[in-house]
Symmetry: C2
């Protein structure tokens, strides 16, 4: 039987389910460093992500200049205040959340979608956003590998993409999709931070599964 032939050992499967359950979106970092060869392994894991039409749209920027890190932090803080305004009644609750660790994390990365993506039509004629989907899969690889290495990562999307593109002199037609804080942490959260803080609850999986159609009407 082909399933058994290709199935990983129980120990290996357990490691894979464990990393999926223990990965967290981290906002608290303890400084330190990420070894060069570890960082490269993580980026290689990302580069093994799936990509629509094999376009490999992901590009990585490693932020090493302290003043650039500071500018990115200011940009995110500006968007944090604008988001607080937009949240209305939940504004105060929101302002108490720690949503990034840009100044404390060992490594700061920005991921963007390359320019000239319109030439890739396979799987994207009606679904052009599959370039983002592919890159998010790649980032999930990186995230899981980081957790296995004992490193935390957080995906920050509190920014104006046009402003970030200008700051990093990205090519015309490219799109930044996230600012990533990566590095050693003092502790991994037991649960998603937005669950522990009461921002929202984990949904019941059974409520998210349908058969054949969403509506039977």
């Amino acid at each position: 039987m082909s399933i058994e032939k290709f199935q990983y050992s129980q120990a290996d499967r357990e490691a894979i389910y464990r990393v999926i359950e223990e990965r967290r979106d981290m906002r608290h970092f303890s400084g330190g460093k990420v070894k060069e060869d570890t960082l490269l392994k993580l980026l290689k894991a990302a580069h093994h992500g799936p990509s629509v039409g094999y376009m490999q749209p992901w590009r990585f920027i490693r932020i090493t200049k302290p003043e650039l890190r500071q500018s990115i932090h200011s940009m995110v803080n500006k968007e944090r205040l604008l988001t607080a305004d937009a949240l209305g009644s939940r504004s105060d609750e929101f302002m108490k959340l720690k949503l990034e660790g840009i100044l404390e994390c060992a490594e700061l990365l920005v991921v963007f979608l390359t320019e000239n993506r319109q030439q890739h039509i396979l799987g994207r004629r009606t679904m052009p956003e599959m370039d983002l989907a592919s890159s998010a899969c790649a980032i999930q690889n990186l995230w899981l590998a980081a957790r296995a290495e004992g490193l935390g990562m957080g995906w920050v999307s509190l920014f104006d993409p046009a402003e970030l593109a200008t700051l990093l002199r990205l090519p015309k037609g490219s799109s930044p999709i996230g600012i990533f804080c990566l590095g050693p942490v003092d502790n991994f959260y037991d649960k998603p931070m937005l669950e522990s803080t009461g921002w929202d609850t984990r949904k019941n999986l059974q409520d998210l599964i349908y058969e054949n159609t969403w509506s039977d009407i």
Copy 2:
């Protein structure tokens, strides 16, 4: 040191890197079945994906009616022909590729983004597409878990999303993001199929990494 404290054992890390490297976007399936409890484990892995503002936007439809599977196959085949037209000079090469296994796979799933997503503002005020990014991360979890279980999966994005939403009676404001073929396979591809067939080559990782800015000008 916190890194060592949280780092997984070498065997566990190797399993995680291995599944990341061995996962493939599969289009050839060998029929058979996926056990109910395995399917649930895979969906649970997906549900442990990260989500912007903890919105958990992913919804899963399991297609069990043969006539619905047939309709989805016809829909994908129609888009395949339209894509071939749009590809111009690569049309013949494209038409030789096998791009889905809808009629052969053990399980057919559709994933869609829930309706009423506009109420989730945290991390999405300027980046509304983060709902798709979160769901793609969730799908990558499922994909890796499936590979570890010895099951292949393929993400098909050759369809008109409005047409698929109508067919599955999705709620207004929701968005289907993929048709997923899942099940036993005779073999996993050694390399991505679009690499083996010469559609495109794997890019050099070093060419995708920049420091501080894309352009030094």
